[in-house]
């Protein structure tokens, strides 16, 4: 019985989307309302709470001293993690990160890393020995669809708000922060869902539950692409991919304006 209802709902959402409309009245290239709050938590070097519609994601930045990777002796280290805590959805479970959490963390990480968002060379303290390790922790409070874009937006906002703690004889003084974290690029992620034959921006939870395939792209300020990820058990045609990318590159320009505050 539950399954029949699910089937009916699936058909209903598909029909609406294919007719060019959406359940919540948006157009195919509209985001739900986006809010960004910066620097909310004193215990973090930087933080941001981003909501896209009902989805709420916190990104927190913490910095510690550590060693560089042997093959990059003069560069700081970025470590990105995501927790889909059970608070955020009846379907999330406590425990070590499961594949969806790992995918979100890795796609966000890729966008930041491949765009060169952080000037990691400026995080080197003693070459080959001591560098800043930046922990970027994504904490999903409320899950109502499109974690990728909310997480990337929260991450770059948190990085932009971050101040580096003072260093005194190899001791980190977290109470005294001054210099901003060196951020030199602002990757923006846009996520599209293919539902039936139609591709729409920013899928809500209900849309995610019926989508055939998902495409996330991350772009830098020049409009170049720095990361991409297809998801879902369906497929795209070549034309859909190319068309979606054009839409995403345009949309990212709009979104990037939200970062200037």
């Amino acid at each position: 019985m539950l399954e029949i209802i699910a089937d009916i709902k699936r058909d209903y959402i598909k029909r609406i989307v294919e007719s060019g409309k959406r359940l919540d009245g948006r157009g195919p290239d509209d985001y739900r309302e986006i809010k960004i709050e910066r620097d909310l938590y004193k215990t973090a070097e930087g933080s941001a709470l981003v909501s896209i519609g009902g989805t709420q994601v916190i990104a927190g930045v913490k910095m510690i001293l550590g060693e560089p990777f042997p093959d990059m002796p003069n560069q700081g280290v970025l470590t990105t993690s995501a927790e889909l805590i059970p608070m955020a959805s009846p379907t999330f479970e406590a425990g070590p990160p499961k594949p969806p959490a790992i995918e979100v963390a890795r796609v966000v990480d890729r966008g930041i890393r491949e765009s060169g968002a952080i000037d990691t060379e400026k995080l080197c303290i003693v070459e080959g020995e001591k560098v800043w390790v930046v922990f970027l922790d994504l904490h999903v409070l409320d899950y109502d669809g499109n974690l990728f874009d909310a997480s990337t937006l929260a991450s770059i906002s948190a990085l932009l708000s971050a101040k580096m703690p003072k260093l005194e004889d190899d001791r980190v003084i977290y109470d005294e922060r001054k210099d901003p974290l060196p951020v030199k690029e602002k990757p923006i992620s846009t996520t599209y869902a293919k539902i039936g034959g139609t591709v729409v921006l920013d899928p809500s939870l209900e849309e995610e539950q019926v989508l055939d395939a998902r495409l996330t792209l991350a772009t830098v300020e020049s409009g170049d692409l720095c990361a991409m990820q297809k998801g879902g058990s369906g497929a795209f045609t070549k034309e859909e991919v190319l068309n979606t990318i054009d839409r995403g590159i345009e949309k990212a320009k709009e979104l990037r304006k939200l970062l200037k505050v």
Partner: protein, 237 residues
């Protein structure tokens, strides 16, 4: 845990300007999350706490359900960025213990016999911590449960008292907790004056304990008033 050498009271005032019987500023809000059945956000001094409640709902795994009552589960968790030294994700022993005593602080007011074979799941997330997170968490969780409409015979309000510079004081903040001599977190179901949480560490004489206990219970009652106001506000139109 406790250290000497820092003066915590000067001219009868504490480091943040409070008197010995004063609570830190507290803000409460309910219905702040979309997916959870109930939710609450509490700022308590520099603590920032989110609580959510799901249920009564089906139990997974099945074998832990009880045939004659609902079970209550609590997960207290600290966000990695909620403390100056980043906390590694996942439960440590401290949060496992706090989850257990929090559950035992909340369970006494839940009418569990009304909905057998179900679970009430409570999630507490500490987003910024500064001493007293378990009291703030219990307080937020009780609001989230009320927001979710869980049948309860009472609310639960929580507050701690402690000892600093040899004096009993209400509601220790971070520095006071680090350099103070004792801490006594209490939770109270106010209607029947039931003490549902009681922990202590440090050093109290019998007399100091009684003074601190009274103070903490008084704090609980103040917190309870704020909880009621917060819930009422939701239903004002």
């Amino acid at each position: 845990m406790k250290k000497e050498g820092v003066k915590l009271i000067e001219n009868g005032k504490r480091l943040d300007g409070r008197g010995l019987d004063e609570l830190r500023p507290i803000k409460m809000e309910i219905g702040v999350l979309k997916r959870a059945d109930g939710s609450a956000y509490v700022e308590w001094g520099e603590n920032k706490i989110m609580a959510a409640c799901y249920g009564p709902r089906e139990v997974h795994p099945r074998h832990v359900e009880e045939p004659d009552r609902a079970i209550v589960r609590v997960r207290y968790n600290m966000a990695p960025f909620s403390v100056p030294d980043r906390k590694r994700p996942g439960p440590d022993r401290r949060s496992v213990e706090i989850s257990k005593v929090t559950k035992e602080a909340l369970e006494p007011v839940v009418l569990t016999h009304l909905f057998p074979r179900t679970v009430v799941d409570i999630f507490i997330e500490v987003l910024q911590a500064n001493a007293g997170t378990r009291c703030a968490g219990i307080t937020a969780a009780a609001l989230a449960m009320a927001d979710a409409g869980i049948p309860m015979r009472d609310l639960v309000a929580s507050c701690a008292a402690g000892k600093i510079d040899g004096k009993v004081a209400l509601d220790l903040m971070g520095l006071e907790d680090n350099y103070g001599e004792a801490d006594l977190p209490v939770a109270l179901a106010p209607n029947k004056k039931q003490v549902t949480l009681l922990q202590m560490d440090g050093n109290f004489t019998r007399a100091e304990f009684e003074e601190a206990f009274e103070k903490a219970l008084g704090g609980c009652l103040k917190v309870y008033e704020m909880q009621k106001k917060t819930i009422r506000k939701k239903y004002e139109v």
